[in-house]
């Protein structure tokens, strides 16, 4: 009983750490400038250039401007929200599934890197879909853009959640069978 309590207590600490992590990341994002978000923006705009054939011009204090489409990729388009959610969601699952501290830490680090890579993919996909969809709608309003964005983000988030759940359980099972 005592052991279970301790185990639960330990998990609470981990989850509190995750909440702290969220607060720090969210706080940082709130004040982040354009160059500070370049770790997300630069690869995204690069991928967009490759995939659409458009040219981007970096305009300091504004963002990456695609004159072909008359769009701007700035702080609000960085994909940070998805990154944060994907990382928190997967880390929460790792804490639940993996019991061993060292392996849990390693998994969280790995999920951080994976979430980052996936963010670039998801965000680029969202923008490309948005550019394609607007051609076929009578009026592409801000609301349509938001709905499309939510749809793409949530779809990928659910996929990510399912994949994480599967692989983390698989990893855990493998480890337990080894030990």
């Amino acid at each position: 009983m005592r052991n279970i309590n301790w185990q639960l207590k330990k998990e609470v600490y981990w989850l509190l750490g995750l909440v702290l992590c969220f607060l720090i990341m969210k706080g940082w994002y709130h004040y982040a400038s354009l160059p500070e978000l370049n770790f997300l923006l630069f690869p995204t705009q690069f991928a967009l250039q490759l995939l659409t054939g458009g040219n981007a011009t970096y305009i300091p204090e504004s963002g990456y401007f695609f004159s072909d489409y008359n769009i701007l990729i700035d702080q609000s388009c960085s994909g940070f929200n998805w990154f944060l959610l994907a990382f928190l969601l997967s880390s929460g699952m790792a804490i639940q599934i993996i019991q061993d501290t060292r392996r849990r830490l390693l998994a969280i680090l790995g999920l951080f890197v994976l979430s980052y890579g996936l963010t670039l993919l998801v965000n680029t996909t969202r923008i490309i879909i948005s550019l394609s969809v607007e051609q076929y709608l009578l009026e592409y309003t801000a609301h349509a853009h938001l709905i499309q964005g939510v749809f793409v983000y949530l779809s990928f988030l659910l996929l990510w959640q399912l994949s994480c759940s599967y692989f983390l359980h698989q990893l855990n099972r493998n480890y337990e069978s080894l030990t």
């Binding site: 960085s78 853009h145 983000y153």
Partner: protein, 942 residues
């Protein structure tokens, strides 16, 4: 309130608003009528007839009452309400037929629905006041508390009804019940407002009663606390304490009243109304004047809230703080009563006329102050824009930067769009007035606002790259044919390029777009596009209006085609939309005195044939500007002009004196290295302003003592140097060298190609930084340096053409050229035949002369447009547009008229650069939560 019984009030309260309303509706109907179904046209005509009958009856009644010198009876108020309320209900019940879905959103002014309510609301409010005033006689004993009780009983009853009766309701004819409920609600609102206004009126009528003795108990809340609370609630100050918000971002439901003056005026107004009415004329006179000055404030908020009065009951039921919506109405009743009392008292000591004049002047004081303030903004803006875009190089400018900074702030605020349709970041009425007075109902593009800010305040300026238009992958030219005929009478080739464009893809709504460059001495003289089976001719129209219309139609996925000058000789050509597998036909006509080749969408179009007919030579001598064919140019003399340095020194706020001293050293070094360029060197000291410095001895110390103002406005210095050089027209030419350490921070458009003709030796300039690095930039792309710098002492030959006493220096190349005499702007323009070479030469020379004398542009650009319309030849101020229907043509005419009336520097709403924003974090959390909820429900069910 007795004064409101005078029937003359009806002229202002009813007749004038109804006339304006009729014009607004009629103007809109003229544009959209061709799009309306017969049923909608019937609704429009029914509405028009009913409103006409009502208005004529109303006018007839008021004329009768004025002539018989009678006061308005109480029954007038009741009848007015009984007629106009059902009329409004009837209108809104069929609002969808007034502006049906077939009318595109950009064409349908949805504010029309609001106008009707807003313009008729004063009549309704006046009717209410007449009823209250007439049926509340001062001599009869009335109980204010009883009226209050009855008024409060209305929301109370509704609340009970909603809590008790609605939940127990078991169906019935829901549509009929709904209608009955709406009508009951409307009439109970009138009932509620009647008793509320009556209660306040009784309170202000009583002089000796409890209300008068303890007047401050109710006056302070109505005149000070409620107005302040209302402002605070609207501006979001009370959000935390109330637990809800009616504000989003910096927007409020009723407008953006965050300026401290609104609070200050609310306090002053309330304070003046709370002061006792002592019978002392030297006390009452300033009090009366103060109250009259603040009356404009009370009226302003009454006008804003009038259209919302019918919603007051809902607001009270929905939010506790909804009663604050009634504050302006109560304040108005109190205010007008105090003015009446002051007026009566002062009449005993001064003549009625003097008191009336004092009241009139005082009441106008606040509106006049606002007007003066806005007029000042207009002056600041016009002056600053004139300096930026239409400078007179012989004139010295001094712009008040503080005032301009404030104006820029207001402009930015006005440009912000409301996040939702019911929120506003503007000031009701005042923003519209500002837009009309300061901006001629047009707007200023973000790029221009940024440029003003950069030039005068030294803030960074980034030019967005010019937007590239390109065709969808599946859309391409499937057939192309060229017909060229030489018109010996006009001395010009007339070529038509017929295009067949096909969308081979499976998707519809695709666009064809391309950019192409017109060769020298080649102009567009006609355009057509097939819309369905009908060949629609291009309409030559003003460029801003045409591009605006195109973008609106393009966004609504309808059928436009457009052709216009993007930059110098560069043309944009767009056709939209293409359905899947659709083939569309379009064509462009050109005139050109000699055969030309055009690079067009990856093909070369050969227009005209060699040899050139003999008659093709030079033309247009009568305008002093003329065309020189490539053959004629071969016969001209070649000369080398004498170069001299023209230094442009960065003297902006960011440049230190140490940096300036380094520039001096560099200039001295350049003078030593290139003595042949240094004899008559010139210097333009450039910050927000461009000041020439002669090559006198102590120029260095003179420069150090000058004040640095704003940013490095290199564009102005370049324009000025090139224009001056062209005007001087001597055997020497400037080698322009920009001395600046941060070339990127120079304020300049990406292309100055339209000034390329001003320097025959080559359209470029040099830049040298503090390290001595040398780069050359072309006027066609001022942001990217040429691959290798051109030597400062490069020798470039030019050709000399002589006409009378004038000499023209032209580029030594094999291309035809138009020699431009800037005096063309002073010559009387003769009439040109349609598609004539003379007209084309005149237009090009006129446009180029305007580039050299930009201060003449505002007064003379319309002349260029007029000639373009007459000749059918497209110019940089016009565009060829094909639209689909008569409604679009009507809208084009309206927009064109708006642009022609306004300042040439103002713009129509621009096509906004879109941000590809991701969904917010909490939106995603909510989405995830909903998905999880759905999944768990599904699992449970399973």
């Amino acid at each position: 309130m007795k004064a409101l019984l005078n029937p003359k009030w009806l002229i202002i309260i009813h007749h004038l608003p109804v006339i304006i309303l009729a014009f607004l509706f009629l103007g809109h109907f003229r544009i959209i009528n061709t799009l309306l179904e017969p049923s909608s046209v019937q609704v429009w005509s029914n509405l028009g007839v009913v409103l006409l009958i009502l208005s004529l009856a109303h006018i007839g009644f008021s004329v009768f009452m004025i002539r018989t010198k009678q006061q308005l009876p109480g029954i007038y108020g009741l009848i007015t309400l009984l007629i106009y309320v059902p009329f409004l209900y009837w209108y809104y019940a069929q609002a969808d037929e007034v502006l049906p879905r077939v009318v595109p959103r950009w064409m349908a002014n949805e504010e029309l629905h609001l106008y009707l309510g807003a313009f008729l609301m004063p009549t309704l409010a006046h009717g209410l006041f007449v009823m209250v005033s007439k049926w509340t006689q001062a001599e009869q004993p009335h109980k204010a508390w009883l009226n209050f009780l009855i008024a409060l009983g209305v929301p109370g009853l509704w609340y009970l009804f909603m809590q008790v009766v609605f939940p127990l309701w078991r169906g019935g004819n829901s549509h009929a019940v709904e209608r009955i409920a709406i009508i009951a609600f409307i009439f109970s609102t009138i009932f509620f407002l009647f008793f509320l206004v009556r209660a306040i009126y009784i309170m202000v009528l009583r002089r000796t009663s409890l209300f008068e003795v303890n007047a401050l108990w109710w006056k302070i809340p109505i005149t000070i606390i409620f107005p302040l609370l209302g402002l605070a609630l609207n501006n979001g100050v009370l959000d935390d304490s109330l637990g809800y918000s009616i504000k989003m971002g910096d927007e409020g439901v009723f407008g953006k009243f965050t300026h401290p003056l609104f609070y200050l005026l609310a306090i002053i107004n309330g304070f003046l109304l709370c002061l006792p009415d002592w019978e002392n004329k030297s006390y009452r006179l300033p009090l009366f004047i103060g109250r009259a000055i603040c009356f404009a404030y009370t009226i302003y908020f009454l006008l804003i809230f009038l259209p919302f009065l019918p919603l007051s009951l809902i607001a009270i039921l929905a939010f506790g703080a909804g009663f604050l919506m009634l504050t302006p109405l109560a304040l108005f009743v109190v205010h007008i009563d105090h003015l009446r009392r002051d007026f009566r008292y002062l009449q005993q000591h001064f003549s009625k006329r003097v008191v009336l004049v004092m009241a009139g002047v005082s009441m106008l004081l606040l509106p006049i102050a606002i007007h003066v303030n806005y007029a000042q903004d207009r002056r600041n803006l016009k002056k600053a824009l004139a300096y930026l875009y239409n400078p007179d190089y012989d004139q010295s400018y001094q712009i008040n930067r503080k005032d301009l900074g404030r104006t820029i702030g207001v402009l930015r605020q006005h440009k912000k769009r409301s996040s939702t349709f019911f929120m506003s970041n503007k000031l009701p009425f005042l923003s519209a007035y500002y837009n009309w007075l300061v901006l001629d109902n047009l707007t200023l593009s973000n790029q221009k606002i940024d440029k003003l800010d950069a030039v005068f305040n030294g803030n960074p300026y980034y030019t967005y790259p010019r937007r590239q238009y390109f065709s969808a992958d599946s859309v391409a030219i499937s057939d192309l044919s060229i017909t060229s005929n030489y018109d010996t009478h006009k001395g010009v080739w007339e070529s038509t390029v017929d295009l067949e464009i096909t969308n081979a893809g499976r998707f519809g709504n695709q666009e064809y777009a391309t950019h192409f460059e017109l060769p020298p001495a080649c102009w567009i003289s006609d355009y057509y596009l097939y819309v369905g089976d009908k060949k629609e001719p291009g309409i030559l129209s003003e460029k801003k209006a045409a591009t605006w219309i195109f973008n609106q139609i393009r966004n609504a996925n309808r059928d436009p085609g457009i052709l216009y000058y993007e930059d110098d000789q560069k043309i944009v050509f767009r056709v939209f939309p293409f359905a899947s597998r659709e083939v569309r036909k379009t064509g462009i006509s050109f005139i050109h005195p000699e055969p030309v080749n055009i690079q067009f969408d990856g093909r070369v179009l050969n227009l005209g044939e060699s040899p050139i007919p003999l008659s093709a030579g030079h033309s247009g001598e009568d305008t002093n500007s003329f065309y020189l064919s490539s053959q004629t140019k071969q016969t001209l003399d070649t000369v080398y002009r004498k170069p001299y340095f023209h230094f442009i020194i960065d003297h902006s706020e960011k440049v230190s004196d140490t940096q300036l001293e380094k520039y001096f050293e560099q200039i001295e070094q350049l003078k030593l290295d290139y003595p042949e360029l240094s004899n008559d060197f010139q210097i333009s000291v450039t910050n927000a302003y461009v000041k020439p410095l002669s090559s006198y001895k102590d120029w260095q110390s003179s420069l150090l003592s000058r004040q640095k103002v704003g940013g490095f406005y290199l564009e102005q210095a370049l324009r000025q140097a090139l224009a001056k050089h062209y005007h001087q027209n001597t055997d020497s030419y400037p080698v322009i060298v920009v001395l600046s350490n941060e070339y990127r921070s120079a304020i300049m458009e990406r292309s100055l190609a339209h000034l390329s003709f001003a320097q025959a030796e080559g359209a470029f300039f040099h830049h040298i930084d503090l390290e001595g690095r040398h780069a050359t930039y072309s006027l066609k792309d001022t942001k990217e340096a040429l691959d290798s710098a051109i030597p400062l002492d490069a020798k470039t030959p030019v050709l000399v053409a002589k006409r009378g006493t004038n000499e023209y220096y032209l580029p030594a190349d094999s291309k035809p050229t138009i020699a431009v005499n800037p005096n063309i702007l002073d010559l009387n323009q003769s009439l040109f035949a349609k598609g004539s070479l003379e007209a084309a030469i005149w237009q090009e020379a006129y446009w180029k002369a305007l580039q050299l004398q930009p201060h003449r542009y505002p007064s003379q650009w319309r002349q260029l447009l007029k000639t373009s319309f007459e000749s059918g030849i497209m110019s940089p101020v016009s565009a060829y547009l094909v639209v689909e229907n008569e409604a679009q043509r009507a809208m084009l005419r309206k927009k064109q008229e708006q642009v022609l009336k306004g300042d040439s520097n103002y713009d129509l709403e621009e096509e906004e650069t879109r941000r590809m924003s991701e969904p917010g974090f909490w939106v995603l959390i909510l989405g995830l939560f909903l998905v999880s909820l759905l999944r768990s429900i599904k699992r449970r069910k399973a």
